[in-house]
């Protein structure tokens, strides 16, 4: 009796032991993403971030496109034919060589699945001598940027099943997979035949941990070396520890309110501006996000070319907001909520908890909008409700985080979100001048002046209301050094990291 209790305690003590939580020489990476399948179109971003798969084109920290598996690219005079010269001597993890045919195969399969490539005016991709050519039906200056997106990753032909579905990830990156256990883990080791400089740390492991609290605790306890995606509160807590270094970098992601521009309450730009004026961006940034400042315009400084320092910033002025709404015929009702033609100014704000700060900001907005007499009901639900509501017209307001550089050149996102009928962009908002400017930029005509003009239109019309510019934060254990953050969220940069002395 006593003996078995004692044994249990002893066994626990033995397992627990005073041994440090970390003793192996594997770099443990923890992030929120779950590996669904060896399928580039769904989980591809994990493989590119882990340095397992690569794309033809890469982007540097400023967003400039740099060579990847393609060393060089050029476009024809008419802008309709692109040629990408392939890097020599690149081998896949299964030992086969990367050829023009294998690259075309990978891109054609990617184009057949939902993703940005599918919507491009591509008429054909053909193998050439050490190069591939992409032909277009209309000019597209940003094509190389599209090929830097994770779904355009180049995998060996053996990676795909007969129907094109991914069966195994055989990439060209500095690390090759040694074990993969969807949905939560992945082990990889340095690839001996990598074309570039070999990584310093040989063994890496990935764990998907969806709860941000758990990730932060893993960083705090020294359980993980590289913890991605931290919540603001944990950042300040981890910042107090010596054993962990918290890195933070502005990224091209904006926290914004998307609104239905044909909703009777929101159709006038004045109404949208009133809502914008109601928002205490500095307060939200400091208290909720723990950032030094809020957004002053839609595009963060990280979005090169589109951010315009000259633009007059979005402000916070409750009095003016009330005045604007009064000008639109709204009057304060008995409960403090505005009323017009017998209708209360009540709206539903849809958001999703996948990013933990969103429901928090929504809760703050609820109070700040109430201060100008607007009632918000918060619907924190599955992220798909936003595009679904956009499509069927039922969406009123949505709070979301939008990355302008999923494709390193923001033009693709701007084009689909604010000119096309992009699910995550403006809803029922059309502006001919804006469309003309953006279409020109996409074709390759126009530069910073045009971009600034487009940004100014967005600032004036407010088809979406920016709230804050994101910073990406991650925690790195003091066991390693050389960690960096890719503002374009394309790579964890594992191959540049080394064990601390």
């Amino acid at each position: 009796m006593i003996r078995s209790t004692f044994l249990a305690t002893a066994a626990l003590a033995l397992l627990a032991g005073p041994a440090p939580a970390q003793s192996d020489d594997r770099l443990d990476v923890v992030a929120q993403f779950e590996i669904q399948a060896p399928e580039p179109s769904t989980s591809g971003y994990i493989f590119t971030r882990m340095g397992i798969a690569e794309t033809l084109v890469n982007a540097d920290a400023e967003g400039h496109l740099i060579p990847g598996l393609a060393t060089d690219w050029a476009v024809s005079e008419d802008g309709l034919t692109w040629t990408f010269t392939l890097r020599d001597g690149v081998r896949f993890h299964d030992g086969t060589a990367m050829t023009a045919d294998t690259v075309v195969n990978a891109l054609e399969i990617a184009r057949g699945k939902p993703g940005p490539l599918a919507d491009l005016p591509i008429t054909g991709i053909a193998p050439g001598e050490g190069a591939i050519t992409v032909t277009l039906s209309e000019p597209l200056a940003a094509l190389p940027a599209y090929l830097a997106e994770f779904r355009s990753q180049i995998l060996a032909p053996a990676s795909y099943g007969p129907d094109g579905a991914g069966v195994e990830i055989i990439g060209t990156g500095p690390y090759r997979i040694t074990a993969m256990a969807p949905p939560l883990s992945l082990d990889a080791t340095a690839f001996a035949d990598y074309w570039g400089p070999p990584p310093h740390i040989a063994d890496v492991g990935y764990s998907g941990v969806s709860r941000v609290e758990t990730r932060a605790l893993m960083a705090e306890s020294g359980e993980a070396d590289f913890v991605f995606g931290l919540d603001p509160a944990s950042v300040s807590r981890l910042g107090m520890l010596d054993s962990v270094e918290v890195l933070s970098v502005p990224i091209s992601r904006t926290l914004l309110i998307k609104l239905n521009a044909t909703h009777p309450f929101l159709a006038q730009p004045e109404a949208r501006r009133a809502l914008s004026l109601a928002i205490d961006r500095a307060g939200i940034a400091r208290a909720v996000l723990r950032y030094p400042e809020g957004a002053t315009q839609l595009f963060p400084p990280a979005v090169a070319g589109w951010h315009d320092d000259a633009l007059s910033p979005l402000g916070h002025d409750v009095g003016e907001a009330r005045a604007l709404l009064a000008g639109l015929g709204w009057q304060e009702g008995s409960d403090g909520i505005l009323v017009r033609d017998g209708k209360r100014f009540a709206l539903t704000l849809t958001t999703y908890p996948d990013r933990p700060e969103l429901p928090l900001v929504a809760a703050v907005l609820e109070q700040q909008f109430r201060a100008i007499g607007v009632e918000l009901t918060i619907n924190s639900t599955n992220s798909s409700e936003i595009p679904a509501g956009h499509q069927n017209g039922t969406l009123e307001l949505a709070l979301l985080a939008r990355n302008f550089s999923l494709i390193p050149d923001p033009i693709g996102t701007v084009l689909s979100d604010y000119v096309g009928n992009g699910d995550w962009g403006a809803m029922n908002w059309r502006n001919a001048d804006f469309a003309a400017l953006v279409r020109g930029i996409a074709r390759g005509v126009g530069g910073d002046r045009e971009r600034a003009g487009a940004a100014a239109i967005l600032q004036a019309e407010l088809p979406v209301i920016p709230i804050a510019w994101y910073r990406q934060t991650l925690a790195v254990s003091d066991r390693v050094e050389g960690a960096t953050i890719d503002p374009f969220e394309r790579s964890f940069g594992l191959q540049y990291m080394r064990w601390a002395e």
């Binding site: 209790t5 627990a16 923890v30 769904t42 699945k113 883990s185 764990s207 609290e213 359980e223 992220s383």
Partner: protein, 309 residues
């Protein structure tokens, strides 16, 4: 044999019930499923109309649900669970993969709880009203009043973050089992200890206990020869009933500890409307209960000849 027959009926009812519940779930948001599945597959950055259309086209969603339900039951009869809407892999393969992780965690939890609870319970039951009995009552009542997620937090903060004895979360090595296992085990042990205590107190008050001592057996001999086996019968029976509590705990604990098991899969499948996965996991959990209890019926039958009579 009739006990096993009733377990079979229970199993069939479980299957029907899960079919009906998931049927209702699928019908409740008919147009939404493709979107949800697309969000599950592509993530919030990339879910858009094109992705939802692709899902809709691929899976043939939006058809009438009754044939779908009948189809599922028919497939089930052939032991075919279908394929996951999110990952596209066969549900059976997904579950087989995740069940191992959950089952090993559950097993560790049960073993730990058996090492902690019953020995204390038996000692307390031998001296009802004694200090150990009172202490155990307080401790087990207190433990029962702690929700599992709270227990998990306390253990992580104390043992992983402050003392750094154990990994806070994750999986892979034996050490990773301890915190989630202990979280589950403490809740189970609180109940186990009470059951063992009550059974022991009841047995110690029975004429055969007294008679064994009158025959000349020492306290210790009486306990070993007549106590343990008799205590184990109600204990094992309750273990079967605790299976449900265990599974509920596993759902919460896996979410907190990032454990790649069936509970984690279930929550995700419900989030993303992956109906075949919900059906599959729920069915495995429900039938797991039936199978475990059928096995326990047999074990009790073996231990207690009166049950067989």
């Amino acid at each position: 044999m009739s006990a096993l027959a009733s377990r079979l009926v229970q199993a069939i009812m479980v299957a029907l019930l899960i079919g009906a519940a998931t049927f209702a779930m699928m019908r409740s948001l008919p147009g939404d499923a493709a979107w949800r599945i697309a969000a599950g597959r592509y993530g919030y950055d990339n879910v858009d109309a094109a992705a939802a259309d692709a899902v809709r086209a691929e899976l043939g969603l939006g058809g009438p649900a009754l044939p779908a339900l009948l189809q599922w039951l028919g497939d089930l009869a052939r032991l075919d669970f279908g394929t996951s809407l999110v990952t596209g892999r066969p549900v059976a393969a997904e579950i087989a993969h995740q069940l191992g992780a959950s089952a090993s965690l559950a097993l560790v939890a049960v073993l730990l709880s058996l090492l902690i609870g019953p020995p204390l319970g038996i000692l307390a039951g031998l001296r009802p009203g004694g200090p150990l009995d009172r202490g155990l009552l307080v401790a087990s009542t207190g433990l029962k009043a702690v929700p599992q997620f709270l227990m998990a937090l306390v253990l992580i903060v104390a043992l992983a973050v402050q003392l750094r004895w154990l990994p806070a979360a994750g999986h892979g090595t034996a050490r990773h089992f301890i915190l989630p296992g202990l979280t589950l085990a403490l809740g189970l042990a609180a109940v186990n200890a009470r059951i063992a205590r009550d059974a022991m107190a009841r047995i110690a008050a029975m004429p055969f206990w007294r008679f064994a001592q009158w025959k000349g057996l020492s306290e210790r001999q009486t306990l070993i020869r007549h106590g343990l086996r008799n205590v184990s019968v109600p204990l094992i029976t309750y273990l079967g009933l605790q299976f449900v509590t265990l599974v509920e705990g596993v759902i919460i604990v896996e979410s907190i500890f990032g454990w790649p098991g069936i509970g984690h899969a279930l929550v995700h499948a419900i989030f993303s409307r992956d109906v075949p996965m919900v059906q599959g996991t729920a069915l495995v959990l429900g039938l797991g209960f039936v199978v475990v209890n059928a096995a326990i019926d047999l074990a009790v039958r073996h231990l207690d000849p009166r049950v067989a009579a």
